[in-house]
Assembly symmetry: C2
Homo-oligomer: 223 residues x 2
Amino acid sequence: MPTDETRTAILTAAEQLYAERSFGEVSLRDIVAAAGVNLAAVNYHFGSKDELLAELFLSRATALNRERFAALKEAEAAGDGRADVEAILRALAGPPIRWCLGADRQRSAAARFMTRAAVETVPPIRKIVERDITHLRRFADALRRALPDREEVDVYWGLHFALAMIRQTTTDSERLRKLSGDLCDLDDVDDIIERIVQLASAGLTGKTAPLRKERAKAAAAKG
Amino acid sequence: MPTDETRTAILTAAEQLYAERSFGEVSLRDIVAAAGVNLAAVNYHFGSKDELLAELFLSRATALNRERFAALKEAEAAGDGRADVEAILRALAGPPIRWCLGADRQRSAAARFMTRAAVETVPPIRKIVERDITHLRRFADALRRALPDREEVDVYWGLHFALAMIRQTTTDSERLRKLSGDLCDLDDVDDIIERIVQLASAGLTGKTAPLRKERAKAAAAKG
DNA sequence: GTCTATATTCGGATAGAC
DNA sequence: GTCTATCCGAATATAGAC
């Protein structure tokens, strides 16, 4: 691995740049300038810009998924095969939030790069992102096992909202800081994860006010 | 306004295309082809690609904000000057979700265009997006008035999570549909808004399980 | 106001020396 | 494996006729 440091220099630089600007806005020339390597090196090592992007995304997504799965497995082991809702959510939210807001600059860039790549419409990315749905399915299944009495649609909506909070926090934390006048402490990573876990958990377990439909139903039953 | 229909044809076509692909991926040639107008018309009417984007975004953002404000004002009037949390959230979430998931294709494109534009790093957009924080501040203020006993940071976090759910639902509803095997009904717009409002409201009013810190505090007080 | 034709810039890719 | 030099296509922007 230390042999071709040119390869990793390119990947690192690309990741850093993609964390802040979109795919189309970052040119190969920007990347090689940041990496301190020659322009031709990109095509030599990766073949094309698209393939560079694909390899980068695959590499980071694999690492993140691995970490999430490990946490999920651990939670399931701790619960004798069935993890509880909060533990599942912590396995889902912990890794990306820690990566993004933690001290490790490289990891932070990786996390922001990935949320940006997730909405990218470039073909090589789309393919990998679609595969990512498989990864989510395992979390959905774990949640359904943890909530056998809950309607299936509610579980999916709950997962959807959990992912929403994770994404927003990795992409728009800066706006929150500004909006709150620096009141919201984005360095207290564990607190943030816990906020997400608790609220997402409330959504999944149905500890919110009844939905309009159910209220209407209840009113009808009453009246 | 009906005079130069070329202008509006360009705006409409651009909006449609930007709803699905990013700024850098849509060329002026794509736009004029979709609009059925000449290439030079863009520069004649708008000056440049950037200015076209800026005008489009400003126009749609203004319309959306107006609708949100009207709903907020109405809620405040109904509550004799102080709107309750759910009404505020409904004013925040209703317009974008109805636009995005409603039947009006134009409106749907507008909503998706805007969430895409919000993460765009192109200068002309950044400027307008930053102004948008002012718009959010009014909602933050309304929420603080509705929740005088609640810690200020919790209000900001609650707003952050509400925005998260709105954004995710406007951008990734397709993934949810797939993941749930078509179980989640994305046509029942009112139900979706209500899901968002109820969960966001739970987050704001603190009806979730206590955070780790507070639990630790409670345990310390007890033991 | 609308079109054709063109200027100009930029970015991805490659050939070929070292 | 790395570099220089260059090709080629694409896209924005504009000049100027109608």
